[in-house]
């Protein structure tokens, strides 16, 4: 690819991700409102979309307070980690077969590595705050991430076995031939979905934050721009996980195959990618609206006793099918 295109894609991704993350703040609240039989924020601008801008201005203009008892360096570094790693994760997302920043041959591993590094943000934020609620949130985050990391990776191995490659472009191309992986790797999809929610610590798996028990968990002491970075990171990870689910299990830029060829030729590929990702984000918001938060021990036992065996069985069956059929 030409260098100019690469630059365009990089800056497009960067600005697009920021813009979508900001708009998501409004969109999520609006959608939650509809699902809870209210209207949601609808005052600022048309349909209340100006709320996104108002929120950004508010966060930027707020006092950026560092508590005197906090570990200054760690406290400042913590929120940057999640944003940097999540933005780096976008590097391997293929929007279409030609439009991506990097088609790494270890793309999937890179993505997993980046999401794992994001845990440092929560962990350091919890530790550096010198606050017991923040510490509890950080502890929970560490345990949750470590355990859900295991089968988040394992759940994707079935896909990798079928594709024979870690490259996300190859994965989508395989789906063009074999049908979407959501059918052949259904249990892998379920586990990845649950682990993805836990990874981006959104509701119902937002135990590190757990507003009702831990105030705000790891970002109790944060305000202003640093808090904004945590929020940005959370929404970025939501977008990233959604686009990963789209890419890996829902055929990325491929249109649904039951549509006639005329439609598939007419609609640009990138539309399918963004439509699927958007639907996935809406589903995450629906999860938030509908499912209560599990208790901490329930979360752990659900992970280790159900999801891990499910992943392993899925892996074994996939392996067996590939070997002997």
């Amino acid at each position: 690819m030409e260098e100019l295109t690469i630059f365009l894609v990089i800056y497009g991704t960067l600005l697009g991700a920021f813009a979508v993350a900001a708009v998501l703040v409004w969109f999520e609240r609006r959608l939650l409102g509809f699902w809870q039989d209210r209207l949601g924020p609808n005052r600022v601008g048309p349909f209340g979309i100006g709320l996104a801008l108002a929120d950004v201005i508010k966060l930027l203009a707020k006092e950026d307070w560092i508590p005197p008892f906090a570990d200054r360096l760690v406290f400042i570094l913590a929120p940057t980690a999640v944003v940097i790693t999540m933005l780096l994760g976008f590097a391997v997302v293929p929007y279409t077969e030609h439009l991506f920043i990097a088609d790494l041959n270890i793309g999937l591993l890179f993505f997993l590595g980046m999401t794992s590094l994001a845990v440092y943000s929560v962990l350091l934020g919890g530790l550096g705050s010198h606050n017991k609620y923040a510490l509890l949130g950080g502890l929970r985050a560490a345990a949750q991430m470590v355990s859900y990391e295991v089968f988040m990776g394992l759940s994707l191995m079935g896909v990798v076995m079928i594709t024979g490659s870690f490259s996300l472009v190859d994965i989508v191309n395989t789906q063009a031939e074999n049908g979407w992986f959501v059918i052949s790797q259904f249990f892998g999809f379920i586990v990845f979905l649950v682990a993805g929610i836990a990874e981006s610590h959104r509701l119902p798996f937002d135990l590190p934050e757990a507003e009702h028990e831990l105030i705000a968990g790891f970002h109790t002491e944060y305000s202003g721009m640093k808090f904004g970075l945590f929020m940005l990171g959370e929404y970025l990870s939501l977008i990233l996980i959604s686009s990963m689910i789209t890419t890996i299990f829902f055929g990325g830029w491929l249109g649904p195959s039951f549509l006639p060829d005329a439609v598939l030729d007419f609609v640009p590929h990138i539309f399918w990618f963004f439509a699927k990702t958007g639907t996935c984000i809406c589903f995450f918001i629906l999860l938030r609206a509908a499912i209560p938060r599990p208790r901490y021990d329930q979360l752990m036992s659900f992970g280790w006793k159900i999801l891990l065996p499910l992943t392993l069985v899925n892996l074994l069956i996939t392996g067996a099918v590939l070997l002997w059929l």
Binding site: L31, G33, F34, W35, Q36, D37, R38, L39, L286, L287, A289, A290, I291, I306
Partner: protein
């Protein structure tokens, strides 16, 4: 386990259906919610059908008030009729509980379906008698305390009230 997961999926579906439901909330400043006539809001003092103030300064409302926001002073006119010299309600304390309305023997003090009483200056929340007194009869039209009470007043002697028997002469032995 299957059952638990199934119930989560059902709740997801049910919540999703709510996107088609009409919002229960009201766009308040533009769209006013319906408030029943017996809604407990701003307190008023009403008048009887003749246009005289109903309040007889009995102090029962002030006694009943759990937050002590009512203050009044009794005085009499030349016919011996009681009325409040001043009547003051501090609405920054008032909790709109309606105890005063229940305690009032003359239906004078009444709560109205109006709650928009915001003020920038707290002192403006203190309502004096001229702010409280309205020209109408409120929720109980046609009721006049002195017409049914057995108290002699300007144009009415004992026993001349509505449904009132003549007073008994306690000094007499006749039946």
């Amino acid at each position: 386990m299957i059952k638990a997961i199934w119930s989560q999926i059902v709740s997801l579906y049910r919540i999703f259906l709510h996107i088609f439901a009409k919002a229960d909330t009201v766009q308040y400043p533009e769209e006013m919610p319906y408030l029943a006539p017996r809604y407990r809001g701003r307190i008023v003092l009403t008048r009887d059908p003749d246009g005289n103030e109903r309040c007889v300064a009995c102090n029962l409302c002030a006694v009943a008030c759990p937050v002590d926001c009512i203050a009044l002073q009794k005085t009499e006119d030349e016919h011996g009729r009681w009325y409040p010299e001043f009547f003051r309600i501090n609405f920054s304390r008032c909790i709109m509980c309606g105890m005063c309305e229940e305690a009032c023997p003359t239906y004078s003090i009444q709560l109205t379906p109006d709650f928009e009483m915001c003020e920038y200056d707290r002192q403006n929340m203190v309502y004096e008698k001229e702010h409280l007194l309205i020209s109408g009869q409120g929720k109980y039209p046609g009721y006049s305390f002195y017409n049914v009470a057995g108290k002699a007043i300007k144009d009415k002697d004992k026993g001349e009230g509505l449904n009132e028997a003549q007073p008994i002469d306690m000094k007499s032995l006749l039946p």
